[in-house]
C-alpha cells in the first residue's frame, strides 16, 4: 500500500482517505457483519485433523487490496503467457517429450515425479487443453515486478472467497466502493461454465452436459463446490451419482441415466477411479479413466497436471516459457535453490535460519520451514530431514512481501498479502482471467504464511481504473 519512501501509492489514495475517516468501532461493526454473512451463508471450510469445530469460517478483512488497471494489464499478460507455456509443457511431457530430449528439464525430475501419470502418455486430451483452471500465486516484492510463488494447476480452490468477498464489499463497503471504478469479477462462473462447455468431447451436440464432481460434504472445499455448481447452474455430483457404461459416463437421475460430457472434477487424480488409481477410493467412479482415455468425457483439469505445479518444476519455469513460446517470461520466479543439487544444498544448509524451505510435493503450507520464525530446535529438526532426502525440498529467500493495511485486533496495521488470480483456458487456447483474484492475508503480525489452513484470511481484490 505504501511506497518505499512511505507515501501512499496512487491506487490506494481512496483507501487511505477513507481509513482516515473511520474509527475502529465502525470497522469492528463491519467486520462482525462480514463474519455473520459468512456464518449465515454457511461459507465455511474444514481443517483436516481438527476435531474441534468441523466447519470454520475464513477470516475476512474488510479493507480491500487494490491494483491499478495498468498493473493488472501487465499481470494478466504474464499470467496468460505462463499458463499457455504450462499447457504446452504438459502436452509435451505426455507426448513427444521434446523438452526432456533437449535436456532443459531433467528427465528423472519429470518421470520420477509421483504426480506424473504414465497412464496419460500418448493420450489425446479433448481440444488439447490440460489445465482449464489454474490458480497462480503471485507476490510483490517491489513496485515494478510480480513474482510467481507457486502454480496451482490440479484443483485450485479459493475462487468462491473471491466472489464472496466482493459480495460483502458491495453490502458493507458501499461508501468506499462507490468512490472507485472497480472492474467486475462476478462473471467468473459464466466464464467458467463457458470454458467447460467449450472443451466438451467432439461427439457431443451443441448442448453438452457439464457437472461438478465433488468428494462430498466432508471435503474442506465443499462449500466452494456447491457454490460454483449453483452459480453455473450445473449439477453437483458425487462419485456414487455417476456410473460408466460402455465407456460413457452417466448420472443417476429421477428420470433414469443421463449422459455426462464434461466433469469439472474437484477430486484428486488418485481418487477419481478406483479401477485405474487408488483401489480404496470411495469417492471416484469405476471406469471413469477408461471413458476419459476413450475420449468420451472431458475431465477438467486433465489427469496428470500435477506434474506441472511441482515446486521442483517451478524452478525451471523461465526456461519452460522460453522453450515453448520463444518469449521472455513476463512474470518472475522467486529465486529458488534446488536442494537436489549439491551446491545449492550446501548453501541452504548454511543459511537455514534465513530461508523458507518447502517440500517439493507439499501444499497448503504444511511441512515447511520459515527460518527466521523458527526456533533453533525446529531448524535442527528440519536440517536432519533435509539431509535425509534433499531432492524433496527447495528453498527460497524470505521475501519482503508487500503488505496491505488490514483490520486486526490491535487496529489497522500492515499485513503480508499474496494474490491468487484464476486463469481459465478453453478450446482453441482461449484464455479468460477476471480482473482480480483471491488476496490472502497473513493475519498474524510479521507472518508470511497466508494459507487458510494456517490461520490466514482473505481480502477483496479491486482492480481499479484510476
Amino acid at each position: 500500500m505504501y511506497a518505499a519512501d512511505g507515501s501512499v501509492r496512487p491506487p490506494y489514495a481512496g483507501v487511505a482517505k477513507w481509513l482516515a475517516g473511520v474509527n475502529p468501532e465502525q470497522l469492528e461493526l463491519r467486520r462482525l457483519e462480514a463474519e455473520l454473512f459468512y456464518r449465515r451463508g454457511g461459507i465455511t471450510f474444514a481443517v483436516y485433523g481438527d476435531t474441534q469445530g468441523e466447519e470454520r469460517i475464513i477470516p475476512f478483512d474488510i479493507i480491500p487490496r487494490i491494483l491499478s488497471s495498468a498493473e493488472w494489464t501487465k499481470l494478466s499478460k504474464g499470467l496468460e503467457q505462463r499458463v499457455r507455456a504450462l499447457n504446452l509443457y504438459l502436452a509435451d511431457i505426455y507426448g513427444k517429450q521434446s523438452i526432456l530430449k533437449a535436456g532443459i528439464v531433467p528427465e528423472d525430475l519429470v518421470m520420477g515425479n509421483p504426480a506424473y501419470r504414465p497412464e496419460m502418455a500418448g493420450v489425446a486430451v479433448p481440444h488439447n487443453v490440460y489445465m482449464h483452471i489454474a490458480g497462480v500465486d503471485i507476490v510483490r516484492i517491489d513496485a515494478d515486478d510480480f513474482y510467481v510463488l507457486e502454480d496451482n494447476v490440479r484443483t485450485p480452490s479459493g475462487v468462491s472467497y473471491m466472489l464472496g468477498g466482493r459480495e460483502i464489499c458491495f453490502r458493507l463497503m458501499a461508501d468506499l466502493y462507490r468512490a472507485h471504478r472497480v472492474m467486475p469479477v462476478d462473471n467468473y462462473p459464466d466464464e467458467l461454465v463457458a470454458t467447460l462447455r467449450s472443451v466438451a468431447p467432439s461427439h457431443t451436440d451443441n448442448d453438452p452436459t457439464v457437472a461438478l464432481l465433488t468428494p462430498g460434504q466432508f471435503n474442506s472445499a465443499y462449500y466452494e463446490h456447491s457454490f460454483l455448481a449453483d452459480k453455473m447452474g450445473i449439477e453437483l455430483v458425487e462419485g456414487r451419482d455417476l456410473f460408466v457404461k460402455d465407456d460413457f459416463v452417466y448420472k443417476r437421475t429421477t428420470q433414469g441415466p443421463k449422459r455426462v460430457d464434461v466433469l469439472y472434477r474437484r477430486i484428486d487424480d488418485e481418487f477419481i477411479d478406483p479401477l485405474a488409481f487408488r483401489g480404496d477410493s470411495m469417492l471416484g467412479v469405476p471406469g471413469l479413466f477408461n471413458a476419459y482415455t476413450a475420449g468420451n468425457v472431458t475431465l477438467a483439469n486433465a489427469v496428470g497436471t500435477g506434474a506441472a505445479d511441482d515446486k521442483a518444476i517451478y524452478t525451471y519455469m523461465p526456461e519452460i516459457v522460453k522453450f515453448f513460446l520463444d518469449e521472455e517470461p513476463i512474470l518472475k520466479n522467486v529465486p529458488t535453490w534446488r536442494c537436489r543439487e549439491p551446491k545449492d544444498l550446501s548453501y541452504v544448509l548454511d543459511h537455514l535460519a534465513e530461508l523458507v524451505v518447502k517440500e517439493v510435493h507439499g501444499s497448503g503450507g504444511y511441512g515447511m520451514l520459515v527460518g527466521p520464525q523458527s526456533t533453533k530446535s525446529e531448524i535442527e529438526d528440519f536440517r536432519a530431514r533435509l539431509k535425509a532426502s534433499p531432492e524433496t525440498y527447495i528453498a527460497q529467500p524470505t521475501l519482503a512481501l508487500s503488505t496491505c493495511q488490514s483490520f486486526v485486533q490491535s487496529g489497522v496495521a500492515p499485513r503480508h498479502v499474496d494474490l491468487r488470480p484464476f486463469v481459465l483456458t478453453g478450446a482453441n487456447g482461449v484464455t479468460k482471467i477476471v480482473p482480480g483474484g483471491l488476496t490472502r492475508v497473513a493475519m498474524r503480525e510479521g507472518s508470511l504464511v497466508v494459507n487458510s489452513s494456517q490461520g490466514g484470511g482473505t481480502k477483496d481484490t479491486w482492480v481499479v481504473e484510476l
Binding site: 456464518r39 449465515r40 451463508g41 454457511g42 462430498g216 460434504q217 465443499y222 456447491s226 457454490f227 455448481a229 449453483d230 449439477e235 453437483l236 455430483v237 458425487e238 456414487r240 451419482d241 448420472k251 443417476r252 437421475t253 429421477t254 428420470q255
Partner: protein, 312 residues
Amino acid sequence: MLSRTADNLFWLSRYVERADYLARILETTSRLSVLPAAYTGDTNEWTSALATAGCLNAFLAIYDKPTAETVTEFLAFSDQNPSSIRRCLETARFNARAVRTALTQEMWETINGALLDLQKMDERQFTTGNISRFTEWAKDVSLRIYGSGYRTMLRNDAYWFSRLGFFIERADNTARILDVKYHILLPESSSVGGGLDYSQWAAILRSVNALTAYRWVCRESLRPWLIADLLILNEELPRSLAACYKNIADCPDSIGSAYGTHGKAQRQARTVLTALENSLIDQVFHAGLHEFLTNFIADNNRLGAAIVEQYL
C-alpha cells in the same frame, strides 16, 4: 435431477415437518400433565407422548420411567434419539448441505441459521416449565423453512419432491396421533364423558393445530366422531388425512407430467385419495377406527416405497 438430490430433498422436508410435530406433542403433553389427575385419568401422559412420537421403545432402552423431565429431554434434545427435535433439525441441515444447489438461498439460510441458533443454545436453560420457549422456536423454524421454499423455489421436480416429504410426514403424523388415542375417540367411551375425555380430545386437536378449526367447522362442543371426521376426512383442515392426500397426489402427478410418464407412485397416491374421498365417518367407525388407521399408515408407506422404486 439427481436421484440422490430428490432423496435428500424428500428427507429434508420430512425431518423439518417431524420437528414441528414433536414440538406440538411436547406442548400438548405439558399442558395435559399439569391438569389434576381427575381430568387426565391414571394414564401417564408422557408414555402416551412417546408412543405418539413413535419412540417409546427407544426411550425405554435408555430410561426406566417416563417422567416430565426425561421425556422432555428425550424428545427435545437427546442425541440418543434420532427423532429428537435437535437431531431432526441437524439431519435436515445435513441433507440441506448435501443438496445445497437444489435449495434457494433463502431456504438454505433459514436452515443453516436454525442450526447456528441451535449450536449457541444452552439446553440447560430449559426446564419442563419453560420448554415452550424451545418448542415455539422449533415450530417457527419449521414454518420458515416450509414458507421460504413455498415462496422461492422453482415449481419443478425439486419443489415437488420437497413438498411430497412435508405432506407424507404430515399425513403419517396425524394418522399416528389418532391411532395412539383412538380408544378415547370410540363411541362407547363418550358415555364416560366428563372433564377427563374433554381434555384428551382437546389435546388431540391441539396437537394437530385444529382446536379452533374444530369450533369453526363443527360449531358444537367436542364430540369424538366429529373430531375423527375432521382429522380424517375434512379436506378443509390442512392436517387432515384427506387434505394431506390431496396435496400428496398432486406431487407425483406434477412430477409425472413434467417427465411425461406416470407409474405406480401416481396410481398409489390416487387410490388412497379416492378411498378417502369416498369414505364416510360412520363407515370408518363401523369397520373399526384402529384398522382403518393401520391400513392408512401402511398405504402411506407403500406410496413412499413406490416413489423410491420409480425415481430414487
